[in-house]
Subunit: 358 residues, 2 copies
């Protein structure tokens, strides 16, 4: 039995615009070879910076292009914080960010994501009691791993808290443009363009392998973060930036995004239907309108089955839910749906139901 | 007057094989798109790892490909050392490495490069007296910034010291294949394939902008360094690795290297002749047989002219020699010759002579 792989949140092979990217790669090297094949400033390929700046209504100098957004986050953590500093995250959150924060020696305060939302009340109590949070890392749209979207009220409250208690918000937004139904909620960045660092990337929109991520930085951090990036890797690969720029400038993006949304919307619908059919009343899960993931919370009665059973015997590969939590997570399962065919999703949820309930 | 730029060691525009790289980029995306456009292991594109491994006579698992070799060095420093640890470098050495070491909180012990060679006697005395050097970073071939090649005796002595006193040697070898005359000296890595970490890159051989560097790691460091790399940026861009692989596999490398050597050999010769003509008896300089740089030591009598005069008024842009030194360097000037035309080199050295002697 071929296992259903519910582990990594990767785009499927069929989503990659191979032919268009081959043409873009050829075109940019021929047209801009001497520039993109040379050493260059750390901030990244100027035409792509300008394009992103235009979309965000900021000057291009505020856009830093890198090699994926994770590494930019690493640089930001190094520039803004010292070992022992305290930072906050949603719980659950993106496991790789927890790893980065831990190795930087940061204290991580989890703010629980619950059925009724992000527990900002607890955060406020802690801040009132003198807890010194320096930074809040948050994925407001189709969160990894839960799939949840932060409400407008939560966004406003979080920004108000950041202003009162003087902490930096990092908004990671790689899934934001992958909305399959419903309406956008205004981004934290648009609510507070001077006070929020927005991270995003083209990994989920064009190709992860190109490693093109970016940050929109506040004016006062541009110099220090650019210098740290330059000291680390001189400059990121402009070739990759230029390919992304060319893909957009050639007009491929709009159709490609429509194609991705159509592809993923069906898979999400299949996932939600399968969960309803197999696990209704026995587990709770999010109802995402976009992104890559559904977050599943297993009822306490079945929780021990996650660890006592061997998932592979049931034809499953599962991430360990605890990886997304600072503490706890034993009853959490992340279910990525984008890279699975309809029948794989249906089989996978049936197998999961069997594993959890027998 | 257009200034002569003696600052950065970059390959000239005319050295970049633009058309071949455009074809390689197109070819690799078409042929391997789904692999190189996807997330992947941090170690890098397997065919290029295997090719490098073959050249170094090691198993491919020992080769880590990254995004330039500087960042791999940063990762190695993080994995092997703690703030306060002591490391050694040649003095002068590559300025960016000093920056990395300082920001990692390392104590840097300079080992002077003198007329009669690297002062390993002083290093040995210090080690005997209990100084705990954890790592020695060295550029044995056509060193940046001096252009010097370490003798076989020095190489053997350094390796013997590293074995007696248990420190790691990092051999950075980006210029090694750019020898324009004379014979190769065996690399530190080949003298001690288990005990030396070799770094290199394709920045000086194909294109800096591709950001393809690599390390050949000892067996016991493979896991920890791969994990740190993965935790930092998930994976480097396989597209760039695949382009380099394709460039070599298509057979372009041999001719390209011959072209580079012919181009740079003439420029080096012009530089050495101009120095002989303009500054003989008044300065000393290295006599490199390859690489990118000639290192110039200004006699004490003229030293103050470097700082009291405004180089730009003499039509020059110079690096501050002190950047390559832990202490001192006031009488050192790095002279990169590869990116300058013959007449620019002649004019530049004439201007330098004027600045130093009037």
């Amino acid at each position: 039995m071929k296992p259903t792989i519910f582990t990594r949140g990767v785009p499927p092979r069929e989503s990659l615009p191979v032919d268009a990217l081959a043409d873009c790669a050829h075109q940019v090297v021929l047209e801009n070879g001497p520039e993109i094949l040379q050493y260059a400033p750390a901030a990244g390929y100027q035409p792509l910076r300008e394009l992103i700046a235009q979309q965000c209504s900021v000057p291009a100098e505020r856009v830093l292009l890198g090699q994926g957004s994770l590494q930019i986050l690493d640089i930001i953590l190094h520039c803004l914080l010292r070992p022992g500093d305290e930072v906050a995250v949603e719980q659950p959150t993106y496991d790789r960010v927890l790893t980065l924060m831990r190795r930087t020696g940061l204290q991580i305060m989890p703010v629980p994501l619950q059925k009724n939302g992000l527990d900002l009340g607890k955060l406020e109590d802690d801040l009132k009691n003198g807890r010194n949070i320096r930074l809040f890392y948050v994925i407001p749209d189709f969160q990894n791993p839960s799939g949840r979207v932060m409400t407008l009220e939560e966004r406003k409250e979080l920004i108000a808290l950041s202003q009162t208690y003087q902490f930096t918000i990092i908004e990671d937004a790689p899934y934001r443009k992958l909305r399959y139904s419903g309406e956008d909620v205004i981004s934290l960045f648009d609510l507070s363009p001077q006070g929020v660092i927005q991270l995003s990337s083209f990994s989920k929109l064009i190709s992860p392998g190109l490693r093109v991520g970016y940050a929109v930085l506040p004016q006062n951090l541009i110099k220090v973060i650019n210098e740290y990036a330059s000291d680390t890797y001189i400059n990121p690969s402009y070739l990759n930036h230029a390919i992304v720029y060319r893909f957009i400038a050639n007009g491929y993006m709009q159709d490609h995004l429509a194609f991705l949304k159509a592809l993923y919307a069906g898979r999400l619908q299949t996932m939600l239907s399968a969960l309803q059919q197999q696990l209704s009343g026995r587990c709770t899960w999010t109802q995402p309108e976009g992104g890559f993931f559904v977050g599943l919370w297993v009822d306490d009665a079945m929780r021990e089955n996650i660890y006592s059973k061997n998932a592979e015997e049931f034809g499953l590969k599962l991430s360990d839910g605890r990886g997304f939590f600072v503490t706890g997570g034993e009853n959490f399962i992340r279910l990525p749906f984008c890279a699975l065919q309809t029948d794989e999703i249906q089989d996978g949820i049936q197998r999961l139901s069997k594993m959890l309930t027998t």
